[in-house]
Amino acid sequence: MRVPINWLKEYVEFDATPEELADKLTFSGLEVEQIESLGAEYVLEIEVTPNRPDCLSIIGVAREVAALYESQLKWPDADFKEGSERVEALTSVELLDPAGCPRYTARVIDDIKITDSPGWMQERLTQCGVNPINNVVDITNYVMLECGQPMHAFDKKLLRGERIIVRPAAEGEKMATLDGVDREISPDMLMIADARKPVAVAGVMGGAGSEICGDTTTVLLESAYFEPTQNRKTSKMLGLVTESSYRFERGVDIGKVEWASRRAAYLLAEHAGGTVAQGVLDVYPEEAEERRASCRFAKIRELMGVAISNRRIVEILESLELTIEEQDEDSFIVAVPSFRVDLECERDMVEEIARIEGLDKVPDDRPRAEIVPNIDDSALRAVFECRNRLVGLGLIEVMNYSLVSSEIIRKFGFDEGSIVPLLNPISASQDVLRPALLPQMIETLGRNRAHQAAEAGLFEIGRVFRMDKDGKSRESDHLAVGLMGNVGRAIIDKRREAAPEEVFLWMKGIIEKLCSSLRVSNCLSVQKERPYFRAGCAVSVEINGVECGEMGVISLELSEALRVTEPMVVLEMQVKHLLQSVYTVPQARPIPIYPSIVRDVAIVIDDAVQSEQVTELIRKNAPPELTDVNVFDIYRGKGIRDGKRSIAYSLTYQSLERTLTDAEANEFHESIVTSLLKELDAEIRDKK
């Protein structure tokens, strides 16, 4: 709402600079977004919240100013000399939908001469962002801006049958609105019609067929109250929001409908040469009930937490033109004027008192701690633990949008039916909810590569969305980890290129450390085939025996598309499986007191044999004294035939009951190595 200050001053006296006024209004609930200086005039741009339609007018704002500056509201002139003809002789109003239109008034003004409106009026309209058209249209707009009541002027000679009918549209009716658009109207919409056909969409826009034009001489002036909900539906269905519909759907002052008509007639007589027919047609079958709220002084103080006196409470409400009807020392009944459509109950009065008294009066130095017993949010806190461990493992946390491009998702091969699309996306690049974190994780690695980061170790914990078979979307929290390039190497060793297998093993190390710190067991199994993974370089991730994720080396095609030559390995899994044992408290176990003995063995095996097979065999044949098995070297090359490799293991022997002798350790070791060689058909690597 734009409010020229000199116009405002016609209705209220106050002594303040535009800046002071703007501040005062802002801190009492009418936020002044901007003060515009136009020559000698200052125009306040006010953001009026949907609950305060009364402030969509200069007089409405003046009323607030009067309360804030303890001043009086002055109403403008609306008295004029009526003509001799009675309005009833000229037209009639038939109200067929009193629910949709509780009050309708009509006046007839004859002898109109269409000209430009006076300069001062044009100037004010322009300042408020309304284009001047001619004196009649300008006057209706002026009155709307002045008091908030939208009006419509029909050229009476274009109306048929000397009557106005307020009725729902008939099935199949059409009409052309003032903006020149032919509109389909439906029976849910309220129409203003003449004897033959609709001439305006009630409260939204007039029809082209009865528009004021250069040869208009008789005006039928409409001032009415249209029911907000109905009006909003109509405006939505037509996709048409006007100054008028904007006000009706928020609620105009039903008590001032007739006054506004009188004010407009006064101006038409004054500035359009009009003769106003005697009387007014004011169809108002059921007068709106006055709203009353009963309030308790103590409750108001309690809700504010401010010690405000009874006297001050009453004073504030009265300054806002509310009437205190009954009052004792504990409570009062307050009557709400018709223009304050937002006030219904005691709670609403608290807001009025708080905003006028000033919210700066509310103390800010009494923080209140209170424990609500029997509430357990540990499951939701667990994810913080997970994040902090991932940071401890050296990974940088990223956050991607929940909305992604369906085109990219399709390339990753997700089942079309499981994707959750938006009905009204802003753009094709964000038209579905992400079904997984991997696509963005891979893209993030690629984007960083493009910024000359040759390596990265990233993670994201975020929500993903899938559509059920029954059309319901399901969401769950996932973890993604992405590694690129030499990220696992010490700084001094960065030039040594990392093979995909090595990067994969770094990732494996991360998930192992993460799982052991979260006290769950993990294992990798079953090779995964995915369009985005390199064939044979991907596995599924199991936590405590439940498959809940996958990890693998990114395919060459995808790497190439992102212009990344370094290996990229990504992991994605459901978070909830990781967090099931976060709060399990580790229990101390005795540390072995007898010394351990370490024996090594290096065996040469086929490349096809996997390291884990070897360790499993070692453990299978081992006595309980074998406490640990570790790989400490892998060798291919000189002395080893093609297609084979040497893997060196260190085996630790230890007893909880006594000190092992070298001879005993040798015996254990020999027996393990012998059966290992037999079962694997392997040989010991020559020690040279």
């Binding site: 807001e351 806190r381 493992l393």
Partner: protein, 361 residues
């Protein structure tokens, strides 16, 4: 350098004096000087020179011993005792000098190429995303006031996002937020407030929760808006909850999160689910409220909305608005992260550039 030269001169002075017979007081004085010389020796060579001067065959100690017999018998015993002490103390001082000089001298047998200036090799820590840091820190601060965490889905029903929050479809307050809809009639929550309803439906009062989460609005993204963003919802319902509680708790949060001098300002506003409703600002920590670029010269930074839970909302979850009252607030996480870390474009938070994120270790 200067100090060393002075020490040398002192040693020469002593040489001259040491030849004559010394009385006990002179021995004591010489001992003090010897100890100072030993402690002040800057190198092994200087220390050795001091040892020769005081304890060597032609040094001060043999001279003292030799002179004992010439002393008056009344002084002899005392001088003898002092001479012994001289020997013990100065030997100890020389031994101590040798020990401490060994700390910087190369130790025989250690690799000669030890270079402590090479880069450190231990793998680095990662870093938390600023948004997730602010979420965790917020939760921690509110936890200290007794709040617990609650959670709700990103994909919401119209009922939880609007209707239960006193925002019926036919009311203009719906227009405030431009909503993303799904084809099945669900929507992406425009605020974290639906969590209020979900929690109150499950739990009788008192309720004291914070609910961090993502929200979605059809704003086109710019420097301060993005299509999805994070909020923390706060809700406190109990027998007598007041606006003073609301303002004080938010102030407590602001001071812990941003800085001890931050103030909170309320401006009246409108939200359908609170009454009274306010928007709140933090005083600008960058300029202490004097006005700067960050706060657009106003001294204040807009944060978000809050208010007293509308009795209609309490009624919709089956609470008795006469028996309880409550406050609720929303808080834009990105906004707070931007203030706290001096980030001026919200899009940086979703670029995921490691050069940017690596700064928040």
């Amino acid at each position: 350098m200067c100090r060393n030269r002075r020490a040398d001169r002192r040693i020469m002075d002593m040489e001259v004096r040491a030849v004559k017979t010394m009385r006990p007081s002179e021995i004591a004085e010489l001992m003090q000087k010897a100890l100072v010389d030993c402690a002040g020796a800057a190198s092994a060579e200087e220390l050795e020179a001091a040892r020769i001067k005081y304890l060597g065959r032609k040094g001060a100690l043999p001279a003292i011993m030799k002179g004992l017999k010439d002393l008056d018998p009344s002084e002899r015993a005392e001088a003898g005792k002092l001479a012994n002490e001289f020997k013990k103390a100065v030997s100890a001082a020389i031994a101590e000098g040798k020990r401490s000089s060994g700390k910087t001298a190369p130790i025989p047998g250690r690799a000669p190429s030890f270079d402590h200036t090479l880069p450190g090799l231990w793998r680095g820590l990662g870093s938390r995303h600023p948004v997730s840091q602010v979420i965790e820190e917020s939760v921690r601060i509110f936890s200290s006031l007794g709040f617990t965490i609650a959670d709700g889905p990103d994909v919401e029903t119209e009922y939880y996002n609007f209707d239960a929050l006193n925002t019926p479809a036919d009311h203009p307050s719906r227009d405030i937020q431009d909503t993303f809809w799904l084809k099945n009639g669900s929507l992406l929550r425009t605020q974290t407030s639906p969590v209020q309803i979900r929690v109150m439906e499950k739990q009788p009062p008192p309720v004291r929760i914070v609910a961090p989460g993502r929200c979605y609005r059809r704003d086109t993204s710019d420097a301060t808006h993005s299509a999805n963003f994070h909020q923390i919802e706060g809700l406190y319902v109990d027998a007598t909850v007041s606006m003073t509680d609301l303002k004080s708790d938010i102030t407590y949060f602001a001071q812990r999160m941003i800085g001890p001098d931050v103030k909170v300002r309320f401006r009246p506003h409108f939200f359908p689910f609170t009454e009274p409703s306010v928007e709140y600002d933090f005083s600008c920590h960058a300029c202490d409220g004097d006005g700067c670029r960050i706060c657009k010269k106003s001294g204040w930074i807009e944060i978000s909305g809050a208010g007293m839970v509308n009795p209609k909302v309490l009624k919709s979850v089956g609470y008795d608005p006469e028996a309880v009252s409550g406050y609720a607030f929303g808080m834009g996480i990105e906004r707070i992260a931007m203030i706290k870390y001096g980030i001026n474009d919200i899009r940086m938070l979703y670029e995921n550039d490691v050069r940017f994120l690596g700064q928040f270790v």
